[in-house]
């Protein structure tokens, strides 16, 4: 696998799985306005994953969908941090949102400096969207920072940010659900 694929797949997988986890709040978020807002963030994340997969797919001779859905669970490079199922805990969800956006910002800013113009270009676009996510995270952080539940959630999740390697047990179930329809009729167009 190329250096570019090695670099981008973990990020794409993170965005796909985090987008997946954030979509689990659709329809059941704490209140309706936030439901709509959080759904946009989840859509953006899946959108970023798609764009990153597309870049990698070109050189691997495959498609974004095949990369997103047709790998075995052990082949995904996402961090265990994004695999955590946090619904219905809003404190942990926002804690993860804040911690992830923070770490992701550093990662994206590095990509913007890449010698690879396609990677740098895409990273710049992603960063412009992520700027809104960071605003949203900051807004919620300010609102919740004095709430004990939230402080505890931050402390509990903070060490997990840099972990990458073993998938969590819940990832297998996530993969089963995520690929269920796709696997039901192999090779079909949907």
């Amino acid at each position: 696998m190329s250096a570019r694929a090695e670099l981008l797949l973990p990020i794409a997988d993170d965005e796909l799985i985090l987008g997946w986890r954030n979509s689990e709040w659709t329809g059941i978020a704490p209140f309706l306005e936030e439901d709509v807002a959080f759904s946009s963030i989840a859509q953006n994340e899946v959108g970023h994953a798609r764009a990153l997969y597309q870049l990698v797919a070109e050189e691997l001779g495959t498609t974004a969908d095949e990369l997103a859905f047709d790998r075995r669970p052990e082949e995904y490079r996402c961090s265990s941090f994004v695999e955590l199922r946090l619904v219905p805990d809003w404190a942990k969800t926002i804690a993860r949102h804040c911690l992830y956006e923070d770490a992701d910002e550093r990662r994206i800013k590095e990509l913007i400096e890449s010698d690879d113009p396609e990677v740098a270009g895409l990273a710049a676009k992603i960063d412009r969207e992520e700027a809104y996510h960071r605003m949203h995270a900051q807004m919620w952080f300010e609102r919740l920072q004095d709430v004990p539940q939230f402080q505890e959630a931050l402390e509990e999740l903070r060490p997990m940010v840099v972990e990458r390697g073993e998938h969590l047990p819940e990832f297998e179930q996530l993969w089963e659900e995520m690929t269920e329809v796709r696997r039901s009729v192999a090779g079909a167009t949907w």
Binding site: T26, I28, L32, V36, S39, Q43, F69, V147, V185
Partner: protein, 299 residues
């Protein structure tokens, strides 16, 4: 009927529009709140059958489209409950009544979704049935509601195209995929035929009298059949009603839907009613603290 009410009746029946701060008869206000609240409830409950499929969507495009569709529905419920709120019933009270089973939501959202075929059929046909009613509501006498219906109709237009795209892709695919569509259609046809409600003559329908609705139930159903049965048949799909046909007067004939079943379902006895209200209840309880911290006046 008192003179002022009579004047009001004549006013709305000749196309007059009513704003939030205008005087309105108690009966008008009560019927309005109940009708609009049911719509809000339906948009919110409609999210639950569909959200499971966001997670199972077989391509990234479908995942994004379905998320956006469901997001629209949540957005619609937000707009609708704001209208109800301004009429005097706060959103949290509406949600209390929804969860306790005191208020109703449309029949179609009480049924299970079993396959990706359901996803297509719902987006294509259930949304189509809904948009027919919604277009008629553009002429609602209560102006704040009529105004949000414009935005709702505009957003619904992509839902139907998305649904049609999902269906057409499957119909052009494998036998197994075509089978998924036909099977889903067979299950959804009954609820679809019941969707617009039992055929009350418009003259007997207080919603029509007050011009809250501008279309009778039977008329809406005919419009649905006229628009969508040809679309269904041209794909080689069959409708599970041997009596369904258009007569020489251009009127669709069909097996009379089971109105007892409809009443039974909307009064909270659908196959998925309890489970879905239960999900709403638990997630609402779990996130109560968030509302207290963020929206203290509303909580």
């Amino acid at each position: 009927m008192k003179e002022r009410e009579q004047e009001f009746l004549e006013y709305v029946q000749s196309g007059g529009q009513v704003e939030t701060t205008d005087w309105m008869p108690d009966d008008y206000r009560a019927k309005l709140v109940k009708f609009i609240e049911m719509h809000g409830n339906s948009e919110l409950m409609g999210v639950l059958p569909e959200r499971e499929w966001i997670l199972r969507a077989p391509t990234l495009q479908r995942k994004l489209a379905l998320t956006a569709k469901v997001q629209d529905e949540v957005g619609h419920s937000q707009l609708i409950y704001r209208v109800v709120s301004d009429l005097g019933k706060p959103r949290e009270q509406c949600l209390d009544d929804l969860i306790s089973g005191k208020s109703k939501f449309h029949n179609v959202f009480h049924y299970p979704t079993k396959t990706w075929g359901d996803v297509g059929v719902i987006a294509w046909l259930v949304d189509a049935a809904a948009i027919i009613s919604q277009k008629a509501l553009l002429k609602c006498s209560y102006a704040p509601y009529a105004r949000i219906m414009k935005k709702i109709c505009w957003e619904e237009s992509f839902h139907i195209l998305h649904g049609r795209d999902v269906i057409l892709t499957m119909m052009n695919g494998t036998d197994a995929q075509r089978e998924l569509v036909q099977e889903a259609l067979n299950r959804w046809w009954g609820p679809l035929m019941q969707f617009h409600g039992n055929p009350i003559p418009p003259g007997d329908d207080p919603m029509y009298t007050w011009r809250i609705k501008s279309q009778g139930n039977g008329e809406a159903r005919q419009q649905f059949l006229d628009g969508y049965v040809p679309q269904i048949w041209e794909l080689g799909l069959t409708v599970p009603d041997p009596k369904l046909s258009k007569n020489d007067d251009g009127v669709w004939e069909f097996t009379e839907p089971d109105w007892d079943e409809l009443m039974h379902v909307v009064t909270g006895h659908g196959p998925k009613t309890e489970e879905r209200l239960g999900l709403r209840r638990t997630t609402r309880d779990e996130t109560e603290w968030v509302r207290r911290v963020v929206l203290p006046e509303a909580a």
